[in-house]
């Protein structure tokens, strides 16, 4: 990780919510090119809301969003991917009655991504060999771990600069969780910029460079992964120490 790398994603004073129910209160954070950053926190802290706001699935009520220095709060949701931001949503959200390959094809829907479809498909298959085995299988019939791999693969098909992951370990067996985090570490090693939101704090802090602690819609701590692991408040509240 290069701490002098330019910031890729910047949030400044971001507030968002659902109708009259506000969830995020003036969140400021940044992700630099090539970094892996985690947002950790308890249930209901607003982690998923944060990612939805970054992908513009919900409209922030206040604050700024910038990608590579360009503001995009006014951008419609379906254009965010063209800025290089791809999200693996919470709960995988594959299309259950499409095949694995069709799900991956949807990931390459972006016109700029289509010429690279075949090439990226091969990359995803080499990354997740089981996906290649099951390419013509209905995505709804895959196991939880396989679905997570397919969902990550789908996000990679657009050739993103920034990869958002929303609780990729949720609902998965421990053995599978391990392999998912291995993938995340591999993404980071290959140079992807990753922003991952997780409840599994111990595991995620092992694979990222930096982290933010989000509690009740506000950033309460930030620093390198090691720093947060050593943070007393974090240890007491979340690591059972």
């Amino acid at each position: 990780m290069n701490s002098t790398a330019p910031p890729m994603l910047t949030l400044a004073g971001l507030s968002a919510g659902y109708g009259s129910f506000q969830v995020l209160f003036g969140v400021s954070m940044e992700v630099r090119a090539g970094e892996s950053v985690a947002v950790i926190g308890p249930n209901g802290a607003g982690k998923t809301t944060l990612l939805r706001a970054i992908s513009k699935l919900i409209q922030p009520t206040a604050g700024q969003l910038s990608m590579e220095g360009q503001r995009y709060e006014a951008l419609p949701a379906h254009q965010v991917i063209s800025r290089g931001i791809a999200q693996v949503p919470e709960g995988r959200r594959l299309f259950p009655r499409l095949t694995v390959e069709d799900n991956l094809r949807m990931g390459a829907f972006l016109p700029a991504a289509r010429p690279h479809f075949a090439q990226r498909l091969e990359r995803v298959y080499s990354l997740f060999p089981r996906m290649k085995e099951r390419r013509l299988q209905m995505a709804g019939t895959l196991s939880g771990g396989e679905q997570q791999m397919c969902a990550i693969g789908r996000a990679l098909m657009s050739g993103p600069k920034l990869l958002l992951l929303d609780e990729p370990s949720a609902g998965l067996a421990p053995v599978v969780v391990q392999s998912i985090f291995d993938v995340v570490r591999k993404m980071g090693a290959e140079g992807y910029t990753v922003l991952i939101v997780e409840q599994n704090i111990r595991q995620v802090l092992k694979v990222v460079d930096r982290a933010y602690l989000l509690e009740t819609g506000r950033i309460h701590a930030s620093g390198s992964a090691a720093e947060l692991l050593a943070n007393d408040a974090v240890r007491r509240a979340y690591l059972g120490v």
């Binding site: 419609p76 299309f95 069709d102």
Partner: protein
């Protein structure tokens, strides 16, 4: 006597096959709209009627050759379909399903009435005669053969589009999870609009095929509208493959039933068959999951 009976019976069965192709095309459009947008266009047959009038008008009143009038007709009804979605369906997408049904019912009235105002209630004919085909003692209308071939080609093209293209895949995907479509760069509103245009274009194509065989008048939609609904329900609403199969089954009932009795009774027989299947498999003969 027995031999002649068999030949003409065979002719009825084959005609039923040809008819089935046409019905399959009709049900494709309706099923597509419902499967994707979850709305039933009760006025679907009236869109076809409008297309038939458009082609008739361009060809007989404006002197345009058929190879101009027909594609123009398809494009026209495609635009009507898109307009229907944009101005009539979109405002009620979040409303009760009964309101969605009613609003397309209102469009049904409206289109019938507009056609009456514009062209009166007389039956109009395109005036085009295609040479028939004679096989042994059976004769088949040329326009029916053309209709069958065209319908099959269109269905094949639709299948390829839905399964091999990006837009087609998006159309298949959106009914499974609309909320995440933007994450992949898909604007759901545009997909709905596109689907509506395709549904309209399919109706326009059906209009091209029907106007070759039948006279057009404002109420002609009632001749095949309800039938299309029954076919779609029997195949499982939104199930493209099921509708395809059900179309041929229904067509056999009408053709063979019409062979033994008068034409209307063929329809009644088909309906009776439909009710019987409702007792046996209410969610549709070929439906796998969805019910209502």
């Amino acid at each position: 006597m027995g031999q002649i009976f068999d030949v003409y019976f065979l002719e009825a069965v084959l005609n039923g096959l040809l008819l089935g192709g046409l019905f399959a095309l009709l049900s494709l459009g309706l099923n597509l709209i419902f499967g994707v947008i979850d709305v039933v266009w009760i006025c679907y047959a009236e869109l076809i009627m409008v297309g038939m009038y458009a082609i008739w008008w361009m060809h007989t009143q404006q002197g345009l050759p058929l190879w101009v009038a027909m594609p123009a007709g398809i494009a026209f009804v495609g635009a009507v379909g898109a307009g229907l979605h944009q101005f009539v369906i979109r405002p009620v997408l979040a409303a009760e399903p009964i309101n969605q049904l009613l609003v397309t019912g209102g469009v049904l009235f409206l289109l019938q009435a507009l056609a009456t105002v514009a062209f009166g209630v007389e039956f109009q004919n395109l005036g085009v005669r295609l040479p028939g085909v004679v096989v042994g003692e059976m004769s088949f209308s040329g326009s029916r053969l053309v209709a069958f071939a065209t319908a099959m080609a269109a269905i094949a093209a639709a299948y390829l589009f839905l399964n091999r293209s990006y837009l087609g895949t998006a159309i298949r995907a959106i009914s499974q999870d609309r909320a995440i479509m933007p994450l992949m760069g898909v604007d759901p509103a545009r997909i709905y609009l596109l689907t509506s245009a395709i549904g309209g274009a399919l109706a326009g194509l059906a209009a091209c095929l029907l106007v070759l065989q039948y006279d057009v008048h404002p109420a002609i939609g009632l001749s095949f509208g309800p039938l299309t609904f029954l076919i779609c329900v029997m195949g499982g609403l939104g199930n493209l493959i099921g509708g395809f199969a059900a179309a041929f089954v229904f067509a056999q009932f009408i053709s063979v039933g019409g062979f033994f009795l008068q034409l209307e009774w063929g329809y009644v027989l088909a309906f009776g068959f439909f009710i019987a299947t409702m007792f046996w498999k209410p969610e549709g003969l070929f439906s796998k999951r969805r019910k209502a």
